[in-house]
Each structure stands twice: as structure tokens, then as C-alpha cells.
């Protein structure tokens, strides 16, 4: 029976919100009627469900039938791919512009930071709009040419659908969750490696006439052996949680709970180390500029407040996770 629920939810997720609940009710009853007919003939319920759902075919194509044809620019067949490509292209454009402008700023002698920032915002705005416009145009074209038959066989997997392709539970995670998971996972791993092998790289780079004079460490190097392992454990918990988000196409309630537990554990370790670990280099400000009282004050303020910032950020993240579990329960 659960498979029927999943199948129906796979169909309606492509449909407009206002017709979803009606179609959900109607389609569920119709499918159950068909299953009943088969079980009355002696078939097991499991086999009957598989037979009926196979007969109904790919949920995306069924959703396509429910929609009025071509009342859209990009239909349900291509929409998920369209969104994914648009995000990737926009991200790449934004990254490219950022890198280009950073290089330009670093190497130019007369560029002011404000001017560069304004230029950066303007370029990103225009760049991302153009990127999305092109992607949209291409996908709208694909949608129309399919009608003509040029691309009729492009999306072959849609017709080769079987019940096995149905997700294991009702879909909750969006593609963006997986991409966020991937980014988080990669950052965590890189950070872990650097933290444990090249801790001295985290610092303020002091240049003298273009050559690197020294790196003043941000972290307290003297007692590193006591706090690095604890922080590593905290980061590892986060990495595992992100890894799960990245690897799973569909998160279930259990995996969501598991990720919340990992976040809580990670938070406990982080909070403990930040409060008791004395992990920052107390003398950073004096080592950079021995005379500057402002810098000294700023650094003292940072040391005092970094705990608060990280604790609040973690609490917000955990609250979001709890909210998601809650929403999942209601669906």
C-alpha cells in the first residue's frame, strides 16, 4: 500500500498545487480498485500493486497527461533537469565573475573596494540573468522540438519505467539538498586535512615588499595537540551528515533523525572546545601590529564572540533540521 502512496505522490508533485489533493484522492481510489480486482482473482497484494503500477507507467508521463499540453514553457519531463542546469550555470557564472574581479582588484593599483564591489554586484546580476535566460530558451526549444519529433527519442528512460524505479519512500529531499551536501562534505574534508597536517597555513600572511615574510597563526599552536582532535571529531560528524545528504536520493525520516543526532554531537564537541580549548592565538594582534590598540581591541572582541556566533549558527541549523522532520511527518 505504501508503494501506491509513493506512486501517487510522484505523480502529483509535477501538478499544480490546487489540483493536487483532488487528483491524489481520485487516483489512489482508482489504483486501489484495480488492485482489489487482481487480489480477488487470487493474486497476492504485493504482486497486484506491482502489476497495476507497471500498467499505469512512469509517474512523470502520467502527470504529463493530467496537465494541459504545452500550457507551459518547460514541461514536467524536463523541468527538474532545467532547474538543475540553470543552478549550475548561474553558479558557474557567478564564480567566474567573482574570480575575475578579485584578480582584477588584487592586481590593479587604483581600484577602490567600493567600486569593485558595485561592479561585482552589477556583473553578477546581469551575468546570472543572462545565464538563466539562455538555459530557459534552450529548454523551451527542446520542449517544442520534441513535439515536432526531432527529439522524440531523447528521453528514452521515461518510457522504460518499472516499479523498481519508484523511490523507496515519499520524496522529500530536493536536488539542492544533495548539492549542499556535496559542497559541505568537500569543505569539511579539505578543512579536516589542513587542520591536521598544515595548521600553520591558517594565519595572517605578512608580506614585505611583495615577498612573504611570515605567517602569523590564527590558532594557538602551543596546545594544538589537545584541541585539534576534538575539533576534528566535530567536523567529521558534520562531514558524515553532509555525506548522507549527498549520497541519498531520498531522505527518510530515519536518516533525517540520524543527521540531527550527528549535528547535536558535533555541536557539543564544538561548544566544548570553543569554551574550554583556548584555541585562538591570543597574541595575534600584537604580532601583526604591536602599536595598534584598535586591532588589539578588535581581536579581543572576536575571541570573545566567536563562540556566540558558532553556537547561534549551529542552533539555527539544528532548528531547520527539526523543522524539516516536522514537515516530513505532516506530509
Amino acid at each position: 500500500m505504501e508503494q501506491i502512496t509513493i506512486y501517487v505522490s510522484e505523480v502529483i508533485r509535477y501538478l499544480p498545487q490546487k489540483s493536487q489533493s483532488e487528483i491524489k484522492k481520485e487516483l489512489t481510489t482508482n489504483i486501489m480498485d484495480m488492485v482489489d480486482e487482481l487480489t480477488a482473482g487470487g493474486m497476492s497484494e504485493k504482486d497486484a500493486v506491482i502489476t497495476v503500477l507497471s500498467k499505469m507507467g512512469n509517474p512523470r508521463l502520467l502527470a504529463d497527461q493530467y496537465l494541459d499540453k504545452k500550457a507551459y514553457l518547460i514541461g514536467p519531463r524536463y523541468y527538474p533537469t532545467y532547474v538543475m542546469i540553470a543552478k549550475i550555470v548561474s553558479g558557474a557564472v557567478a564564480l567566474g565573475i567573482t574570480v575575475a574581479l578579485s584578480v582584477q582588484y588584487l592586481f590593479s593599483t587604483d581600484a577602490s573596494i567600493i567600486q569593485t564591489l558595485v561592479q561585482w554586484l552589477g556583473s553578477i546580476f546581469m551575468g546570472v540573468i543572462q545565464a538563466i535566460a539562455w538555459v530557459t530558451l534552450i529548454f523551451a526549444g527542446v520542449e517544442r522540438f520534441e513535439e515536432v519529433g526531432v527529439l522524440k527519442h531523447v528521453d528514452v528512460e521515461l518510457d522504460d519505467w518499472s516499479v523498481k524505479d519508484l523511490p523507496k519512500s515519499q520524496r522529500n529531499s530536493k536536488k539542492s539538498d544533495r548539492i549542499e551536501g556535496l559542497v559541505g562534505f568537500l569543505f569539511a574534508i579539505i578543512f579536516l586535512i589542513l587542520l591536521n597536517t598544515r595548521l600553520e597555513l591558517f594565519g595572517v600572511y605578512m608580506f614585505d615588499q611583495g615577498t612573504l615574510k611570515e605567517i602569523i597563526p590564527i590558532f594557538n599552536m602551543q596546545n594544538a595537540s589537545t584541541w585539534v582532535p576534538l575539533i576534528s571529531v566535530a567536523i567529521a560528524f558534520n562531514a558524515i551528515s553532509d555525506g548522507i545528504a549527498m549520497a541519498l536520493r531520498n531522505q527518510t525520516k530515519n536518516t533525517m533523525w540520524f543527521r540531527l543526532v550527528l549535528s547535536v554531537l558535533s555541536f557539543i564537541f564544538f561548544a566544548y572546545v570553543l569554551i574550554n580549548g583556548n584555541i585562538l592565538n591570543v597574541d595575534l594582534a600584537t604580532q601583526i601590529a604591536p602599536e595598534s590598540v584598535e586591532l588589539q581591541n578588535l581581536w579581543t572582541w572576536v575571541q570573545r564572540n566567536v563562540v556566540v556566533v558558532i553556537v547561534v549558527a549551529n542552533l539555527i541549523s539544528m532548528a531547520i533540521q527539526t523543522f524539516q522532520i516536522n514537515r516530513f511527518n505532516r506530509e
Binding site: E22, E26, T29, N30, M32, M56, G57, Q65, D68
Partner: protein, 113 residues
């Protein structure tokens, strides 16, 4: 010859597709819900996919040819569809079109020596 068989299948499918709406409308003088309608049509010898019929019913209703109502007193809530006056009128016209077409095609199919 295998190609020919495949071609025949797709042509028959095409031919039936054109008559689908006529078959569906013709069975809705009395109210039916999705699955009962499939059975009714199948019993008459016409094949129709559930995946085609269910969305089709909603479309016909949207076009103003069918009326629908929920029956929530059965063990499962069912949505019943029935021709309305506009649907009946259209079905009459469509039926006469069909009869004409039938005659024309029959004429065409007589092989002249």
C-alpha cells in the same frame, strides 16, 4: 515482416486513439467512476489504459462536457462523472460525424476493378 507487424500495431493504436473520446463519452449517460468506466469500456471490447482514461476524464470535465461529484459514503471516496447537457449535445454531433465517416470509409474501402 517483423517491421510490418510493428507498423500495423502503431497504426491500429493511432486509429483507436481517434475514437477514444467517442467511446468514453458514449458510456457516460449514466454516472461512472474511473475504474468502473474502464471495466464497462473493456467489456464492450475496447481497450483503454488507466493512465490515459483518468486524466482524460478530468480534461473532458474541464472542457465542460462532464459533471462530476464525490461520493464519500462508500468505503473509498469516489469521484463520479456523467455527461451534462452540453456533453450530450456534443456526443450526438460526434456520433453523426462518426456515422458519416464510417460510410465514407466503407465506400473508400470497396476495391474498384
Amino acid at each position: 515482416m517483423a517491421d510490418n507487424k510493428e507498423l500495423l500495431e502503431s497504426l491500429v493504436l493511432e486509429l483507436r486513439r481517434g475514437t477514444l473520446i467517442l467511446s468514453v463519452l458514449s458510456q457516460l449517460y449514466t454516472q461512472e467512476y474511473g475504474y468502473s468506466l474502464i471495466q464497462k469500456i473493456t467489456d464492450k471490447g475496447m481497450n483503454i489504459d488507466a493512465g490515459t482514461l483518468y486524466p482524460l476524464l478530468r480534461r473532458l470535465e474541464k472542457q465542460g462536457l462532464l459533471d462530476s461529484s464525490w461520493d464519500i459514503y462508500e468505503n473509498r471516496p469516489r469521484r463520479y462523472y456523467k455527461l451534462n447537457s452540453q456533453g450530450e449535445e456534443l456526443l450526438k454531433q460526434l456520433t453523426s460525424e462518426w456515422n458519416q465517416l464510417n460510410q465514407i470509409i466503407s465506400q473508400c474501402l470497396i476495391r474498384e476493378e
